[in-house]
Amino acid sequence: MAMTEDGLSPADFAATAARAIAACAGFTARQQAERLGGDGLLGVTANEEVGGLGLSAAFAVPVAAAAGSGLLGFPLLETLLLGRLLQAPLPDVSRALVSGASCATIAWTNAVTAKAQGDLILLSGCIGRAPCAADADWLLVRVGDDATALVPATTSGVVLEGPTGLDLTMPEYTVRLDHVSIAERNLLPAGTWPLLQSDALVLRAAAIMGSAEACLVMAQEHASTRRQFGHALAYNQAIRHALARHKLGLESIRHAITRSLFGEAGALERNAAFLAAASHGVAISQGALQVHGGMGFTWDVPIHRHLRRILALQAQGDASGLLRALGQRYVTEIEPSSEAVA
């Protein structure tokens, strides 16, 4: 299992990302883009022609995890995905995103319709769960079943509603497009949406892992220092066992992500990584809140921010729909028993 490319290791990116994300605290979206782009974090997987590093997804994983852990208020996952998706069809946009000169996001739910009008395309419809859309210069939307379109956010007919959703640090917006006209080249072909979704699974899993790890660390710290009935909370076996289960959940996410990146991993492994993250991530953050008792229920303890973030990521990836589809697909692929075993 090769973990290095050109002498680089994913672990190096984790440290760089953690530093850059910590430095982004209090920055505007534009300032965050410049800082993250300047550190090369927005183009980890985009190719070198657009200013990226051309590395594999394994190198984007620690960056996404650091964004989760540091509760970054910037659409990092979306920028990583778009920098790569747009590098061939729209290299100028990709270059601007990778450098941090422009900001973009993706509306993860629903689709719009497209109609040709001369050299232009008219888009109409309502799409949702677009993180940080209010700060974006570009918005990628799903068109029909599996195509996409890149919409300049300031185009006439683009109306933002919201923010909605639980995530306070990365608010999600609903977007209405009313006969919004875009250039034909901004309509990306069929197949771009599934590709984007597939790549997003692993990055979302990584972001959830980062948040879940932060929650577990806080819970451990609290259980070790908070005293009740003359003992640290960690003295209580129920607490010890709950935290042990959360550690198992966290390591399950980590190993499932690693497995999805190497060898002959495909859709099943990527689905499993995201679904493991969605289910264990929620359990870990909810469990950390429980360990904190009443304090966990307050605005002062940041666990609620992670819980909100994890729930948003879970919904953006439609974890429950994906789980049902995985089951149905798995069942379909298996033949009924025959009387004789081959």
Partner: protein
């Protein structure tokens, strides 16, 4: 042709293949040589007798599929852990009976390799792989299950002879074994984990008495073993007194993570069997299409993929020279609980089969009733769930136990 007469068609042992070519060679051999009646997903399933199991496992060894990583000088095949994983994946994909000598191959053997004398390695290891010696594990006692510090079975040295007195319980397969990997106290009880030593006790020695215990699944695998002034030669003591157990613990940590690695792939075989059997019945097929069951089956798929990820990570860590330590508890905990959830799902689905039962459903019911009952022990043996949670809390999270 019986297995005893069977000659391996493809000599996997001698193959210098790697990666996928090696996998295909292993797959080809197993699928050609494993009698269909040994496969528990087959309508012709008939569990092999002890003699048949011994013959089959000996044939597997001759073909190069057991003792994978042991040195050739001790009867092993000198293969890599990655090749061992490949073989396990292929074994798991077939609904093959469990080994009757897994204690010998996966516990006693590795411990002897780690702490045995040269003479012991030469004497014991080839006999394990060739199935001339089946081993059982004498660790648990009526007053000491997971808490080995409470062990009372005592070994007292008299010159070159140790005299052993005590009782062991939950000694799986003792009635069919030739040797017992016995943990006995050589120091005072107050020493708890110190003063414990390991012995390779011949079960035909005077003073050894074995009584079988019928378990929940109707099998008589569990045993009690009584030791009444049993004399064991110093030649059969494994490691120095006070040191044997400490060395064994290190081996056990690796074993907890890597033994029966095929479980993840067997688990997958079980899930596929359940679905394929349900599909032969209209009512059950309808339930599979129901979104409730689609979700629960998908949760099982994710559990299996996560288990594979734990196993493969452990192999990566070991191949790269790392140590597993307490992390073996993570895979064990996940596997045992996920498998119990699945077994309950299988029972629930199959219980809805209309009468008369379709032939494939009957085959599946017989298999999954056994799996369900046996799965209740999976969160007990090899360290209970509570013990695993304690290990993770103490040694991985390092949570304070003090005030």
């Amino acid at each position: 042709m019986t297995v005893m007469e069977a000659q391996p068609r493809a000599d996997v042992a001698a193959a210098s293949l790697t990666g996928e070519a090696y996998r295909l060679k292993v797959r080809d051999w197993l699928r050609n040589e494993l009698p269909g009646s040994y496969r528990s997903d087959s309508p012709q399933f008939s569990p092999p007798t002890l003699e048949q199991s011994i013959a089959w496992e000996a044939a597997m060894h001759r073909a190069g599929l057991s003792g994978m990583t042991w040195p050739t000088s001790y009867g092993g095949h000198g293969r890599t852990l990655r090749e061992h994983l490949i073989v396990n994946q292929e074994i798991g994909a077939l609904a093959m009976p469990d080994s009757v000598n897994s204690i010998g191959k996966e516990l006693a053997g590795p411990i002897i390799l780690a702490i045995g004398t040269e003479e012991q390695k030469k004497r014991f290891l080839p006999a394990i792989l060739q199935m001339r010696n089946i081993w059982c594990q004498g660790f648990s006692e009526p007053e000491a299950g997971s808490d080995l510090a409470g062990l009372r079975t005592r070994a007292v040295r008299h010159g070159d002879i140790w005299r052993i007195n005590g009782q062991k319980i939950w000694t799986s397969g003792a009635a069919r074994s030739q040797r017992c990997l016995l943990l006995a106290r050589t120091g005072p009880v107050e020493d708890r984990h110190r003063g414990l030593a390991l012995f390779a006790v011949p079960l035909d020695a005077p003073g050894v008495r074995v009584r079988t215990i019928k378990s929940i699944d109707g099998k008589e695998s569990f045993c009690e073993v009584f030791f009444d002034d049993v004399e064991v030669a110093q030649l059969d003591a494994l490691g120095a007194p006070d040191e044997g157990w400490a060395a064994a613990i290190r081996v056990l940590e690796i074993e907890r993570a890597t033994n029966r690695m095929y479980r993840a792939w067997r688990f997958e075989n079980e899930l596929r069997h359940l679905i394929s059997a349900c599909k032969t019945d209209t009512v059950l097929a309808g339930l599979l299409a129901d979104s409730h069951y689609a979700v629960r089956l998908a949760e099982t798929v994710v559990d299996i993929e996560v288990l594979k990820a734990h196993v493969e990570t452990a192999v990566d860590v070991l191949v790269n020279g790392g140590s597993i330590g307490a992390r073996g508890s993570l895979a064990k905990l996940h596997w045992s609980e996920a498998h119990q959830r699945f077994a309950m799902l299988a029972m629930e689905l199959l219980s809805k089969a209309p009468l008369p039962l379709a032939p494939s459903v009957k085959v599946a019911l017989r298999r999954f009733e056994g799996i369900y009952l046996a799965s209740r022990a999976e969160t007990i043996y090899a360290g209970t769930t509570e013990i695993q949670l304690g290990i993770i809390a103490d040694r991985i999270l390092a949570l304070s136990k003090g005030r």
